[in-house]
């Protein structure tokens, strides 16, 4: 893992990666943002942006995205899904963003146009994201109530949402990255309702869970709740991989860039 602040000629000021890290708090989808601070004529400003970085010439795109998230969260080997490139000639038109970039990366060269490759990943929101609040002042923001972000990052998050909705239809396993190790049927249902933006009938949803052979009921139940205690379930990834055969259906994971 490289230090994103190393100053050398290996930085590539034309291409960046940005990561949309999604979390689920049981009610809403959240996205992980970092602070973009600096000063203009009229004092300091304090924007938010997606975690991201220019790439180095000696790293691949996926590596760059992994580096960004490792630096930010301490998490390694996250499952990153590349979902789109954003390359509008206008996306770096805000001088504030440009200045911030040049200072952040301590660049000698001028930044002109940047094409960014965007990645999506889903994490358990309660996971110890060790470095979260240190250097980058990262925080989870409700995805339906975002303020204006740097660059075109509002647009990117919007596209990520559309993407994830269609992604989980063929790759339901991704959803379980958003849930704790054990979860109740209601938690899973609320996650489905959030992603698909519609209600699911409780009884039918129980049947649906029963059909997901990779979701195993546990003999563990909630405690200390003021109502009937809910059963916990767990996601069995090995079973999932076996059942989904890695075969017929489209599985992007098998098709990584190994050129």
């Amino acid at each position: 893992m490289k230090n994103p602040l190393r100053v050398d000629e290996m930085i590539n000021p034309h291409v960046s990666v940005d990561c949309v890290v999604l979390g689920f708090d049981g009610e809403h989808l959240k996205v992980l943002l970092v602070k973009q601070t600096g000063h203009e004529e009229n004092g300091y400003y304090n924007n938010m942006k997606l975690p991201g970085s220019l790439i180095y010439n000696d790293e691949d795109l996926d590596e760059a995205a992994q580096r960004v998230l490792y630096e930010l969260t301490g998490l390694n080997e996250l499952h990153l899904i590349q979902f789109r490139a954003f390359g509008s000639k206008n996306r770096t038109k805000n001088p504030k963003d440009i200045k911030w970039l040049e200072r952040f990366h301590q660049l000698n060269q001028k930044v002109e146009r940047i094409v960014t490759i965007t990645y999506l990943t889903m994490v358990k929101i309660d996971k110890k994201l060790t470095r979260l609040s240190d250097r980058y002042e990262a925080c989870w923001m409700d995805i339906d109530a975002l303020c204006p972000l740097a660059f075109d990052h509002n647009l990117i998050i919007g596209e990520a949402l559309w993407f994830v909705r269609q992604y989980v239809q063929t790759q339901p396993a991704a959803l379980f990255d958003l849930l704790p190790k054990r979860f109740t049927a209601a938690e899973l249902r609320r996650l489905y309702e959030t992603i698909y933006d519609r209600k699911f009938d409780v009884r039918n949803f129980h049947k649906r869970i029963a059909q997901m052979k990779y979701v195993l009921p546990l003999e563990e139940f909630q405690t200390g709740v003021a109502h009937r205690a809910a059963r916990y379930y767990k996601f069995d990834r090995k079973l999932y991989n076996k059942l989904h055969g890695m075969g017929k259906s489209f599985n992007p994971d098998e098709h990584n860039e190994i050129y």
Copy 2:
């Protein structure tokens, strides 16, 4: 539309677009390739590659892809789907490819690393691709029998195939771009069989067509065939758009980059 050979400082030697243009000849999927010619120590070489180009600093990614295909085929307003970025640091390691690029674009600067944004489009193979054989010596190649191509273009085509298989599941309209204006049930079935790489029962497939309200049976039939003449059908895009509501399901077309 710009001339891809204009020589100026506006070229961006760090980012390119490449287009996977798919066609269907009734039996197999075809991909449109262009010649990559040049000379090395031991004489001339004659490779094939995907149509593509470095981008200009004053054009967006989608515009660059449109330009490439306009130059190549004379076709405008093709429906282009951005499907992935390829940015391995090794993808430009072949000096032959680099030299070719520098000569083709008449560059003053050195080309080092290129991140390419790839687009997919589907066209009727019989369409008059007016400029096809002129400057670029383009031709349709069977997608299952490709020779080694320049850069990582074999890899890109492989990924495009995976992508299209999952794309048409949510966007079946794309398939009709591959067929002539009127087509028989058997032609449509063979296309499905090619894309999904499996057989479909003839009777069940007729029922399926009947359920596609946007596929209309015509009162026209084949002539001059040595067997019972097949009925022609046509795809009604307006009906399709109305029925698919542009609403619930994921529709990438609505989410273009308009930053």
